[in-house]
């Protein structure tokens, strides 16, 4: 019973699907952020697995950059979220319909 690359890719896909369901299901913005973190982590597993099974470090490098991007996304996104909460008193997506056409 050997764990191959496909095992990791299938796991990565399952986690990505969970994250996608979360992104489509949630309307609370904080929960939406959690779902995007799941998406990024699922992709990172795929990168690390490919890096291991092809003996190439590029996958790990991409995983590092994805982690850096996730960290900066959280910083900016939470700043915007706190600002929106101070202004409107809620963080629900349905309250952000001021750009209705």
């Amino acid at each position: 019973m050997e764990i191959t690359l496909s095992h990791y890719l299938v796991l990565s896909t399952i986690l990505f699907a969970i994250g996608l369901v979360g992104v489509m299901r949630r309307t609370n913005l904080l929960m939406l952020f959690f779902a995007t973190e799941i998406l990024l982590n699922a992709v990172n597993i795929g990168f690390a697995a490919i890096s291991r099974y092809y003996g190439d470090l590029t996958g790990q490098m991409f995983a590092f950059f994805v982690i850096a991007i996730a960290a900066s996304e959280v910083a900016v996104g939470l700043g915007l979220l706190i600002l929106w909460f101070k202004r409107s008193g809620g963080i629900d997506l349905t309250s952000m319909t001021s750009m209705k056409g």
Binding site: M1, F64, A75, D92
Partner: protein, 190 residues
């Protein structure tokens, strides 16, 4: 054998934890299960021999990102249930399944072709951290510096966005000044 046991154990745990994150109604449960899932994911990196990536995962995600989320959740009312009205869950699940299938196909195509060769092979005779350092500071130096600048910009943006009302320091003010500032804040809110 041990690899298989560890893989299936941590795969199960990760899927369960992330499912809790996605489907729970309590914001605190979502936060804690997300943190647990991040730590379980670092186990995959250790199994795969990417030790440095696993350590970075624990430090950055469960250290920095989760602390940021916990800090932000103190602004919001997290004790009550998250109220959400979704229109039709069937469509959501259908779309999620279809996109997942699409991604499987996208991932499977290069595996079938079997033409991938290593651009930057792992250096022989050094540990994972050293090999990562060698590649990161030679081939990926410019993206590394750009990522550093991006993190700096994100930090400045976070401070500017979240710290709007922090231009007067509460520790350096007298009591009357603090009361005056609070009153003016209340007026501004109402």
């Amino acid at each position: 054998m041990f690899e298989a046991v560890a893989f299936y154990l941590f795969a199960f745990l990760t899927v369960v934890m992330f499912s809790i994150t996605v489907f729970t109604k309590q914001a605190l449960y979502a936060l804690t299960s997300l943190a647990a899932g991040m730590i379980f994911i670092s186990a995959f990196y250790f199994i795969l021999g990417a030790d440095f990536l696993g350590a970075v995962q624990i430090i950055v995600y469960t250290g920095a990102v989760m602390a940021l989320y916990a800090f932000a959740m103190m602004f919001f009312d997290t004790t009550r249930d998250v109220k959400e009205h979704t229109r039709s869950p069937q469509i959501v699940f259908l779309l999620g399944g279809m996109v997942a299938l699409l991604i499987v196909i996208i991932f499977a195509v290069p595996i079938v072709s079997e033409n991938i060769t290593a651009n930057y092979p792992v250096a022989e005779g050094v540990g994972n951290s050293q090999a990562v350092g060698i590649v990161l500071f030679t081939k990926y130096l410019v993206p590394f510096e750009v990522a550093a600048v991006m993190l700096l910009v994100a930090m400045v943006a976070g401070i500017v966005l979240a710290g709007k009302k922090m231009d007067h320091s509460l520790t350096l003010m007298e009591d009357e000044e603090i009361e005056f500032a609070e009153k003016s804040n209340e007026k501004a809110v109402s």
